[in-house]
């Protein structure tokens, strides 16, 4: 019983991650400037990859027909999810910061740009 529940919760997370991926892809196509598109891309990496990996780990843990291999598979998925959670934001942060410093992408329309105000620009 509890296995069934865990499995369906995991599958529900995977399905939700797929929809988030679709939303991220639409945003990547439709958003107006670099920073907004980067935001859409990070929505896909965290919402569309991190959460489905956790969901798949739940599915793996609940698959008792796999024997002890399920803990191995689930553990690998959780490690991959953790690495992604750590690395993806660092990567997009580096991209956004480098773009802002180089000034190659103008954020338009910009309501506030605190980073350039801090730099005295």
């Amino acid at each position: 019983m509890i296995e069934e529940v865990v499995r369906y919760v995991g599958l529900a997370i995977v399905v939700a991650g797929c929809s988030v991926n679709l939303i991220g892809a639409i945003g990547l196509n439709r958003f107006r400037n670099f920073y907004l598109r980067l935001h859409a891309a990070t929505v896909s990496t965290i919402g569309g990859t991190f959460y489905p990996l956790v969901g798949l780990a739940l599915v793996a843990f609940s698959s008792s027909e796999l024997g002890s291999a399920r803990f191995f598979m689930g553990g690998v998925l959780l490690v991959a999810a953790f690495l992604l959670l750590m690395l993806a934001p660092a990567g997009s942060h580096a991209l956004a910061r480098a773009t802002h410093r180089a000034g190659v992408a103008r954020p338009e329309p910009a309501i506030a740009d605190h980073l350039s105000e801090d730099r005295g620009g």
Binding site: L83, M86, L87, A90, H93, A94, R97, A98
Partner: protein, 268 residues
Amino acid sequence: MRRVIVAVSIAAFTALLAYATTVAGALGYLGLETRALARMFLALAYNPNLRELTAMSPAAVAAIVWDFRGVDTLYETVVFYMAIISALAIYRGVHKVGGGGSVGLSLIVRVVTKLLIPMNIAIAVSIAVHGHLTPGGGFQAGATLAVVSVLLAVVYSVNSFSRVGVEVSKAVALQSTGLIAIAAVVFTPLIYGVLTGAQAYLMQNYVKVDSGFHFPAEVLGQLISGTLIWLNIAEFLAVSFGFFTVFMLLSLREEVVKQPLLGEGHGS
């Protein structure tokens, strides 16, 4: 109109490719039966009952790469080594790696990279020493470790190479050590044969029908697959520090390398 044509052609290409590779079996991979060549490799990769033919390695790719067609892989390694030597020849006269005052990317990226690099090294070593058991091997492990050099150059700037004690000369020395270790493994049967007068072949791994020489397949109950683990570790050294050398040279600043690259008669 143009976008419609592009979209239709992409969709048609995908559909045709999918049709050709699945239903029509254009690549010959359709069907569940194993082909004769694959059956031979699967039967011989790990087979303790056929000691004259097996490579004693559960990883069939490692068995093929370092045993069945080992000389091929040896030449590939030498070609890779020669490519690194050519890069060194082009960059000769460049002495200084680093320089300038930059400190790299922001604190967030540097902290994440600091966490990542030990994991990267551990995974690379694991891929190398498990190369005869699981998919992977020396070259893959070397490419994994080479990522560290790119991370150092991009995230911590080229100055970090000298700060962590990596220099081009040391990297070349380690790379050459790897190649010498491969040569030692390859020539050991030959030296054994010359010394004892017995029949032995270059790059021989286990007993053959006319030769009793063999490397140990197991040490302390652990399967090491004869030469495979030694060749994988040596290849790991050669490839990783070969990539280290090239990435260090490629990450040099233009003003450091321009003068030596142009030659002595220019730029003065």
